[in-house]
Symmetry: C2
Subunit: 405 residues, 2 copies
């Protein structure tokens, strides 16, 4: 009898213990809450993982691993910035809950993918695939396949009018819940209405330029701008009119002999309202254009060859990521004087400068230096460093509210 | 003995019951999580409460009450959009946790206040007070007083050089962690460095125009634009140079006889990059200016007198809130054709149109219609209605990342 009572008492004790132990866990979960609007996701490309950082306090929240091949990975955000979608080179899409830091679901949505985008209404994740050549559209809630749009074209030089498949690049979302993308092998730009159930291709612009390799959309979503490997111009599509792809910037493209790794990523261009800052192929300058009429302005000498030119959100500074010679450096251009006013030396493989939403701080990855460095953009002081495993791309959650991002 | 065992068993049962009951509560708490980047806070002015809505799913999350006098209240957000700061007319500042929907703290920071702003670095809440005439700066974490900047000036016409106190208006944050505001009774604009411990006034521009009553800062944070009750122009301060307040828009101000309630709030202006859309005093048009050189363009006829002109984030549409005659209506201007392409009739007291971050939907308050109506901005269909008690101002959390908002 005493033994029984003892067992009962022991049971009560353990149950109470469980309850008590669960309390501090719950309260620490409370303390670890955060808003999602200014989170940062940093790609650790070799490890196949990402870091999640709270940029409002420059505080590391955690790491999510097992995301596959993250070479050239990109990150997209749901409109509420609760979820990040990490899109890998081999078409892996990993949906991460930024409140719990858990991998919600991972699917494979292609063999070789070069990017993706969230539709304006937030309902879909769309992938631009090289292989198979297509746009693949997933439900953003479930990651289930909703639609495949094969990038098929008839080769003009072909004798038998056989349909061929094109690699897809430069996929962006646009106002009106549209998706816009370029067909690399078909010299075409297509526009899809993602607000309609069948995702119809509502416009096909052909012969826009030879071998489009990348594109961007202006921050206001009005202009789609495509780069061509084999044509001596860029293509500009006015999304308000959807009439034609007009050639601009005729001194840009340098012909098909340009090695692929040197092609400036158009998403690395900086558009600051009235000015565009561009990396220049093989030249140690930042190119500058007026966005009012795309006339060239005086190029700005920099410390080497630029990979990315990134504007601070207020447009007063442009940070330039140097590659090759002086690859450890980042130049800061003052847009008022149009000169480099500061050269930072973050360290080995410094790349991908990105700004907090209001631009008071900048994050830079050291791919070969094992950390992410945070700068105060007014004083250029280092505010913080985060250890990281070969960090590359840095993605702020306010991209959720930007077209094409 | 049996009774004891029974009591022990009962204890175990109840403890287990507690544990079991707590499980669904925890999991329902999980289900009720949300990202904060696209939340909306709607002021219920008479009830002294706010609604919190998740605009990514158009879903009501809850109501927070007991916030004081919310006539002309404004809402500011922390950079991570975890917290909303509701600032009332009588200087009440209520800090709301948007994850738990709880009032964290409420303080009184003035007797009569006309607005506030979060500093660029997110550390401070600053209030522009009429009474006492000052800028009051609170710690954003604790809402404790950090600094008071009295708006004192020497009346030029005064014989004895006595210091007087001015009402403060048009307070905004600006790049470089600056605060800019206007002294209504001193015809001055002051600039404060909020990055320095003492919050020094680093610039005082005097004789800028008679009786500044409101101001705005351009979305890129470069231009501070002040309106004057007693001068026939607007004042433009280039924040990159901080040299002078230049007169522009000489046909704007209509003299001191204009009744205060008809003054267009400058924060209701729409700046779409190259164009500015303005409400016109007593005229049934929207005024249009080029923001490149502030030259006037052709005004656009509308259904009545505008209170707010609000641009869709992509700049393709401007929604115009009509007051007085036809006060139930909202006009939609198509910026490509510069014409009203749709007149909506949301209902009694329709006001304060505001857009989701990417502009696919618009929220409109019916102050006298007891609801908030959500429109699809492409089809103009009503997507959803939320019952609300005399709703007025609508504040999207992506303001966290906009200067002066």
């Amino acid at each position: 009898m005493k033994a029984r009572m003892f067992r009962s008492a022991v049971k009560v004790f353990f149950v109470l213990l469980l309850v008590v132990l669960s309390l501090p866990l719950q309260s620490s979960a409370d303390e670890r809450r955060w808003g999602t609007a200014s989170l940062v996701v940093v790609i650790e490309r070799q490890a196949g993982s990402v870091l999640v950082i709270d940029s409002s306090r420059h505080e590391l929240l955690g790491r999510i691993s097992g995301l596959g091949n993250l070479t050239h990975a990109t990150v997209k955000f749901s409109p509420d910035a609760r979820y990040a979608f990490v899109i890998g080179r081999e078409g892996e899409v990993s949906k991460i809950d930024l409140l719990t830091l858990k991998l919600v679901k991972k699917v494979n949505a292609g063999k070789l993918s070069v990017g993706g985008v969230i539709s304006q209404d937030g309902k879909y994740v769309a992938l631009s695939n090289y292989v198979p050549g297509e746009v693949r559209i997933l439900d953003a809630d479930t990651l289930e396949l909703v639609k495949t749009i094969p990038a098929l074209y008839v080769d003009a030089s072909g004798k038998d009018g056989k349909e061929l498949s094109s690699r897809v690049v430069g996929l962006v979302d646009a106002p009106g819940n549209l998706l816009v993308f370029s067909l690399m092998d078909a010299n075409s730009i297509w526009v899809v209405d993602a607000g309609k159930k069948e995702f119809p291709v509502i416009h096909k612009f052909t012969d826009v330029g030879k071998t489009p390799y990348d594109a961007l959309i202006s921050p206001d979503g009005r202009y789609y701008l495509a780069g061509f490997l084999g044509s001596n111009w860029m293509g500009l599509l006015d999304m308000w009119r959807l009439e034609r792809v007009a050639p601009i910037l005729a001194d840009q493209g340098k012909g098909p002999e340009v090695p692929l790794w040197k092609i400036p990523h158009l998403k690395g261009w900086a558009l600051t309202g009235r000015l565009a800052f561009l990396p220049a192929l093989k030249r140690e300058v930042a190119l500058v254009y007026s966005t009012l009429d795309w006339t060239p302005l005086a190029p700005i000498p920099i410390s080497g060859t630029a990979l990315y030119t990134v504007a601070r959100p207020d447009g007063r500074q442009v940070w330039v990521d140097i590659i090759g010679k002086n690859g450890d450096l980042v130049d800061v251009i003052d847009v008022d004087s149009m000169k480099v006013v500061k050269t930072l030396n973050p360290g080995p493989g410094a790349t991908h400068p990105q700004f907090t939403p209001k631009g008071e701080a900048a994050y830079v990855s050291l791919m070969d230096g094992g950390k992410v460095v945070v700068y105060d953009t007014a004083t250029f002081k280092v505010l913080k460093e985060f250890p990281a495993d070969h960090p590359s791309g840095i993605f702020f959650a306010n991209r959720a509210h930007k077209f094409g991002m």
